[in-house]
Amino acid sequence: MVDGPPSNIDWIAGLTRGTLDWTEDKVKQIIAAYKNRDIAFIEDAETVKVIKDQRESEEWTIIQTYVKNKSLRIICNLGLALRAYETQQEKAQVLRDTICRVFGNDGLHIAEAIQNGILTDFIMTRIGDVQSGDLSKQIENALKEAHKYIVFVKDIDKAEERIFEIKTRIYAEMPDTLIIYGCRGAIMKVRKIAIGLNKTLPVSYKFKSNQTPIKIIVVIFRDH
């Protein structure tokens, strides 16, 4: 066996374990390895893992299929990360603040819609009814104006007031799609609102819903 300098793999392993001595030669080796694109540096590798994990999920495959706009896709990725941080309130809040600073309130609304699984529920509700390209357009429009077209219902909301508000919004904008979402204690409230709207909206608006024990999504869409 021939003695020689340690291989790249040896000292990179030393780097990742934090056991490397910081001699000038080692620093030069590190710089050379970076220049050779063998290594990259990150302060918080866990954050990279969280973001990358979301991009390998089944939900991301669905999002990739229908969301083509780059900014929207980034926000979708962040919405999934928000969900991953649900048990880490501090990280979730820092992420919400950053999304808000970079993408504004609208960006945060979109990310929260993704966090709550609204987009995938919406796709599952509408898939089969519309062409893929049309569905992409509907999805991107709904996301871009999430504050207008996605209604979050809370259990403390008054159903009659929400029906009036949503009806006014629909008559003013005549949107192709409107999504009503509620979870846990708000599920019955969403059902009541949907029944109320169904009685008063033009017949061109159709209703579809998807309910699980913890959430409900009602999609109201215009049947052209």
């Binding site: 063998d38 990259a40 302060e43």
Partner: protein, 84 residues
Amino acid sequence: MRHTVSLVSLKGFPIEVKKALLGSIGYGSDEVFVLDKNGKKVLDRYTGEPIRIDNMMILPGSDIVLDSNPVSIASYLEEYPNRI
């Protein structure tokens, strides 16, 4: 075959080593922020915010220095899906 880049955590790197790394790609630091050749704070290309030396990442592709936050990471991955 795709070239694999190993991600190395900067946690535990002495500040002098971080500065040497930055220096090798044309940046500097006042030990708080990453600075350009003119001594101005370098802004993260995705968030537009100054990059702190204690929260930076140095990624492949034209010596990209970014702030290590989810928005910048997601944006980088969207732009360069297979680099890291």
